[in-house]
């Protein structure tokens, strides 16, 4: 995924591999500018068209490539099957429509329903998000609600048509901690009770740890590590994941706080090889010119790092032994381990793979 900007081409995403299974919450974790939101937006095709170019890759949803779909078909999917919740609920709700009006509009766009029937669907959706489906709420305007209620309204709107995949972009960042916990519990309930799969985009490792089944850590447009939440957070392999966790102030005094040297690279002119190599404590020669490919360090736990690969005794730069297209648990993987990325050579190969298999 690239962006055309006045200063040059921003290589926003470069090799993003992500799989979301059914009834699963996958966390996209990383710092500002690492491409979490761009990944989320590209799943829904929300990126501005002439500027944003997907140079390569696929986004598979139940086996269909979303990137190849005509706009009309995508429009029918958006909000119905795949929907999104944004960071700032006040900005994503229309201030001049009541709660009932705006949610029932979504319902009526996607389903052929009478006004009354649509309102019934709205009430059900509101109830699912823990709001009282009263007339008073349906008739209130977004500014009359509190931040937590607004976010619940946004989520009701997102699930009102029975979405199977919800992309939640920092849904709790604008909220206070006590409200944040309520919303996180709601995400879990949507997964368990309605079977909504979710991509949770967050910069807060704690939020991801509390909610996600699996976590993908992003850095400068790459997924550097992906695996089950407990594995990634308790046994991080990639140096960046470890450094990120050690930056957390939890239970540390100010003297014990760790920092990451340097700054996030400019994505117009990203460093060759591994994009983290300039800040990495374990940098090898190969890291400076060859992009690492993801390999499986433990069951269903993937990381893209030459150092880890060397340490695990598999040799540097050699792609791992797993069969292309087959993941650990015997499920098909849409990874392409055969591509070697070399310094300055060829276009960035980006893949944004997201597939939900079993219906």
């Amino acid at each position: 995924m690239e962006f055309r900007s006045l200063r040059g081409v921003v290589k926003a995403l470069n090799g993003v591999y992500l799989t979301v299974h059914e009834r699963e919450i996958v966390g996209l974790v990383g710092e500002s500018g690492c491409g979490k939101t761009v990944t989320g937006y590209s799943v829904l095709g929300l990126l501005p068209k002439p500027q944003a170019q997907v140079t390569s890759g696929r986004i598979l949803f139940k086996g269909d490539d979303l990137l190849a779909k005509p706009q009309q078909e995508m429009r029918a999917l958006k909000g119905k099957v795949i929907s999104m919740v944004f960071q700032d609920p006040l900005a994503s709700l229309n201030p001049v429509f009541t709660v009932g009006e705006q949610i029932s509009r979504v319902v009526r766009v996607h389903h052929d329903l009478e006004k009354k029937a649509a309102l019934e669907a709205v009430r059900t959706a509101l109830q699912a998000t823990g709001l009282p489906p009263t007339d008073a709420l349906l008739k209130s305007y977004p500014h009359q609600l509190s931040g937590g209620m607004r976010q619940r309204v946004c989520m009701a709107m997102a699930i009102s048509c029975g979405a199977g995949l919800l992309v939640a972009d920092e849904p709790t960042t604008a909220l206070d901690v006590t409200i944040q916990m309520q919303i996180l519990k709601l995400l879990l309930r949507l997964r368990d009770e309605l079977g909504v799969s979710q991509i949770l985009i967050t910069h807060n490792v704690g939020v991801a740890a509390q909610t996600c089944d699996r976590i993908a850590v992003m850095y400068a447009g790459n997924v550097v590590e992906e695996g089950p939440t407990a594995d990634v957070l308790k046994r991080p392999r990639h140096p960046y994941t470890l450094a990120l966790i050690e930056c957390l102030p939890q239970g540390k005094s100010a003297e014990q706080l760790k920092t990451i040297p340097g700054a996030v690279p400019d994505l117009i002119d990203p460093p060759a090889g591994c994009r983290f190599h300039e800040r990495c404590a374990h940098v090898r020669d190969i890291c400076r010119d060859t992009m690492p490919t993801p390999f499986e360090v433990a069951r269903d736990h993937w990381t893209a790092c030459h150092w880890v690969q060397e340490k695990s005794g598999r040799g540097v730069g050699v792609t791992t032994g797993h069969e292309p297209g087959v993941g650990a648990a015997g499920v098909p993987f849409n990874r392409d381990p055969g591509i070697e990325h070399t310094a300055g050579g060829g276009p960035a190969t980006g893949e944004s793979g997201d597939d939900i298999r079993r219906e």
């Binding site: 916990m181 939440t229 308790k234 050690e246 239970g251």
Partner: protein
């Protein structure tokens, strides 16, 4: 003697409407807030949005007009002084705001930004001024190469460093830090917190640290005051408040922090409902509508802030009330992301912080 002593501070804002600007409502932003800050230590004011923590900080800085109370700073009651004397008395306190981009004038160079307080508040000029500016920038990890750039050329963390350098210019005793790291990424946050900690030791600074992130507070503060709807509900040494919280709100707040440890998932939301409006705060204890342990007395009598068990607490619950389950939940939420792997010791990132040069206290 404490550097800063706040007693009974009450700030109300009147909501005026119509042609006659008639006052129709009053926002009880801060009510009878009392705390003290010792020299060289950090006091954190913690609470959710609307709890009044920023209002209290602004009152101390003279940015709003308290209804009553006293603010004794370095032995002088600021509210009893005339405006002019207040200004000089307040030279010993400086502020760093949350959003570094909006607190730095985009049209000024870094040199001018840092030099401005020196031009206004000190006698130095010419070469001495330039030297002092460079010295300040070096203290926060920036250098001469940054002197003639403007704020938009810097990252958020660097801008916050510039804001800190500017605040240090007149060698204050007290720094009011209003959410200084909330707008920053965790890795940058860690670096700013480390910097603040070093500066505090080097320059014997006192910090009034305003934050909503409890993990940050625990790592930087020596004392904590928890606020809810304009009132302090519990205050005391950081270890006491975090290890043995007694106020139901403190307990709920601590339990609501999402722990980065995936093995310690919290069972349910600790608090339901929202913070009520400060225009018409609940009677009695302001927390009673959301409190799990609400008793009859709670909506009738305002609990006084009293010294008890090594802290100050405002709660009607009896001293021996069993809170062990809640305390357990609060502790669980504080558990760290434990990296179990053996590679931990080897995989530490290199330290990069330029050491803060030793410097004389006065120049």
């Amino acid at each position: 003697m404490s550097l800063l002593e706040v007693e009974d501070l009450t700030v109300h804002f009147k909501i005026r409407r119509g042609l006659t600007r008639k006052s129709i409502d009053t926002v009880h932003a801060a009510d009878e807030v009392s705390f003290s800050l010792e020299r060289g230590t950090t006091l954190a004011l913690v609470g959710e949005s609307g709890s009044g923590k920023t209002t209290v900080a602004h009152a101390i800085l003279g940015l709003n007009k308290p209804q009553k109370g006293s603010i004794v700073f370095a032995g002088r009651d600021l509210l009893a002084l005339s405006r002019g004397t207040q200004r000089t008395a307040r030279r010993g306190m400086q502020v760093v705001f949350q959003d570094p981009y909006s607190s730095l004038n985009p049209r000024m160079t870094v040199h001018d930004l840092v030099a401005e307080p020196l031009r206004v508040g000190s006698e130095i000029s010419g070469d001495a001024l330039r030297e002092r500016v460079v010295e300040l920038l070096e203290m926060v990890g920036l250098g001469t190469q940054h002197l003639w750039r403007r704020p938009h050329e810097f990252s958020g963390g660097q801008c916050q460093r510039i804001a800190i350098a500017r605040a240090l210019a007149l060698s204050p005793d007290l720094m009011v830090l209003d959410e200084p790291t909330s707008a920053l990424d965790v890795s940058v946050q860690a670096r700013i917190l480390t910097l603040l900690h070093r500066l505090q030791i080097e320059l014997t600074l006192s910090y009034l640290f305003i934050a909503h992130d409890l993990a940050v507070v625990e790592s930087v503060a020596s004392a904590v005051a928890v606020m809810y709807l304009g009132k302090i509900v519990e205050s005391g040494p950081t270890a006491t408040i975090f290890e043995d919280p007694r106020h139901p709100y403190t307990l709920a707040l601590l339990a609501s922090v999402p722990s980065p440890d995936p093995d310690r998932r919290s069972a349910g939301a600790a608090l339901s409902g929202d913070v009520p409006s400060a225009i018409d705060p609940p009677s009695g204890c302001r927390f009673h509508p959301r409190c799990k342990f609400r008793m009859d007395v709670c909506d009738q009598e305002i609990p006084p802030l009293e010294d008890r068990d090594g802290r100050r607490i405002a709660c009607h619950l009896p001293r021996d009330f069993d809170l062990s389950a809640e305390q357990e939940a609060a502790r669980a939420a504080r558990s760290t992301a434990v990296v179990e792997d053996r590679q931990r010791s080897r995989a530490r990132p290199r330290g990069d912080e330029t050491p803060v040069p030793k410097m004389p206290r006065r120049w």
